[in-house]
């Protein structure tokens, strides 16, 4: 009788152990996906802001068409991109194009003074911050998931939980990652 009890208790403990590891892997996986969708939400927000921004700058600096063209193109690429690496790269390109646009606007005092432009600038720089925080959250979770996948004992349950390693959200040129510089 006591042996049976011991076996039962041990089985319960092992069961509990397996369930908690399995659940942890699933939780990490969900966090990674949620983190990436947050990045996409913010990238979409930025893409939505751009036509408005371009129109506003055009009103004051119509002849800077090369700069507008670059922004519009980068935006189109960014909205079409799929997968972590492609999205990250397009994001870098668009950030750089936007930086060019804001640099151009520096030369137009009337534009800089316009209420509409300032509001857009605040929204844009806030969205840039949101993208970078969302990226930080995503990468933290990717690190946790990838660690769990390769370390013992959770690595034994990877097949059962059907989780795979995720890609970090990386922008290759660190300079590209700098948000457009906006002063208040």
């Amino acid at each position: 009788m006591p042996t049976l009890l011991i076996v039962l208790v041990l089985a319960a403990l092992v069961g509990f152990f397996v369930v908690s590891i399995y659940n942890n892997l699933q939780k990490l996986n969900v966090n990674v996906h949620e983190g990436f969708s947050q990045i996409e939400v913010q990238l979409q927000r930025r893409a939505d802001l751009i036509p408005n921004l371009v129109e506003t700058v055009k009103g004051y600096a119509a002849h800077e068409s090369a700069t507008f063209e670059k922004v519009v193109q980068a935006r189109a690429q960014a909205t079409a991109a799929q997968g972590v690496q492609a999205v990250a790269e397009a994001d870098g390109q668009l950030t750089q194009a936007l930086r060019g646009l804001l640099m151009v606007s520096e030369a137009y005092p009337d534009l800089k003074a316009s209420e509409n432009f300032r509001a857009l600038q605040e929204e844009l720089s806030s969205t840039e911050n949101k993208i970078s925080f969302a990226r930080q959250y995503y990468n933290d979770n990717v690190r946790r998931l990838n660690q769990a996948i390769v370390t013992f004992p959770s690595n034994l349950f990877v097949g059962m939980a059907k989780v795979t390693k995720a890609d970090f959200y990386e922008v290759t040129d660190p300079g590209k990652r700098d948000a457009p510089n906006v002063s208040f």
Binding site: E123, S126, Q136, Y137
Partner: protein, 284 residues
């Protein structure tokens, strides 16, 4: 805290015989009802007590955006953001869970701080939300309250009924009696000290969590330096809400360090400076 409660219950039992045991559930019940009522409604209660006014994206876009940015770093839902009309720079967070959180800033803090500093402050407040500090301080307050109430009740009851007991000789060991009285008097003080220590601990933790959100210890450090240099204090000097502000609103010269709900600003600044020395913590 739990062991402190046990000591008080034991002391009460020794001191007044069987009769006082019946008070224990009453004292604990009263304390729980009071503190948990205020914990559950903390978002509304504190807003009324401090006169904070909820803002949205249109009324203060910059502040609202700043908090929204940090919720992404923290992976938390967006809290309510409020502004308190007060010239003293300060801020607080409250609410029973992340879904009911409120983060409030005084008009003074919005005036004197730049974006990086405000980000540090907002991250500190959001860290309180993430660490469930309203819950932690409610637990600490409940226990401290129960202990104080219990000691007080026992001392009063034995004061009134003490006369009869001297006649029948079952009072027992006089040394135990004296020890019981001392314990009953000292326990509430010890409970207060513990409660303050818990609060100081959570403040230090919130600073560390804030840096994990922003990856920028300099912002919060400069914000705390700004607070240290400033000597206006928030108008409401109520002890009841002192612990929720980022900087203690009570004058530091009149409150002793042991009873203080916040670690000294100089200590917090030094810790953040040490974090800056560790270099970029961004491990990507």
């Amino acid at each position: 805290m739990g062991s402190l409660t046990a000591v008080v219950i034991y002391a009460a039992a020794v001191y007044s015989g069987q009769t006082s045991v019946g008070i224990v559930p009453i004292a604990i019940g009263l304390s729980i009802a009071g503190v948990w009522g205020s914990y559950y409604g903390s978002d509304k209660l504190v807003l009324t007590m401090t006169g904070a006014r909820i803002i949205d994206h249109d009324t203060a876009p910059q502040l609202f955006n700043l908090v929204q940015e940090l919720t992404l770093a923290a992976g938390l839902p967006m809290p309510k953001v409020a502004i308190v009309e007060d010239d003293a720079p300060n801020a607080f967070a409250t609410g029973r869970d992340p879904q009911h959180a409120v983060i409030a800033f005084t008009t003074g803090i919005l005036k004197v701080m730049d974006r990086d500093q405000l980000q540090g402050v907002a991250a500190h407040e959001l860290a309180h939300v993430a660490n469930r500090d309203t819950l932690v301080s409610a637990v600490a307050a409940t226990t401290a309250g129960a202990i104080a109430l219990l000691s007080d009740l026992v001392l009063r009851i034995t004061f009134w009924t003490g006369g009869n007991r001297r006649d029948n000789d079952n009072g027992g060991n006089p040394i135990a009696m004296i020890a019981a009285i001392v314990a009953l008097i000292l326990a509430p003080i010890a409970a207060m000290l513990l409660r303050a220590a818990v609060s100081r601990n959570r403040e230090a933790l919130a600073d560390a969590t804030a840096v994990a959100f922003t990856r920028n210890p300099a912002g919060l450090r400069r914000a705390l330096e700004e607070l240290a240099a400033d000597n206006t204090v928030v108008q409401q000097k109520s002890n009841a809400v002192a612990h929720i502000w980022i900087e203690s609103p009570l004058d530091s010269t009149t409150t002793s360090k042991l009873f203080s709900t916040h670690p000294p600003l100089a200590e917090r600044i030094a810790t953040l400076k040490a974090m800056e020395g560790m270099g970029p913590t961004n491990n990507e």
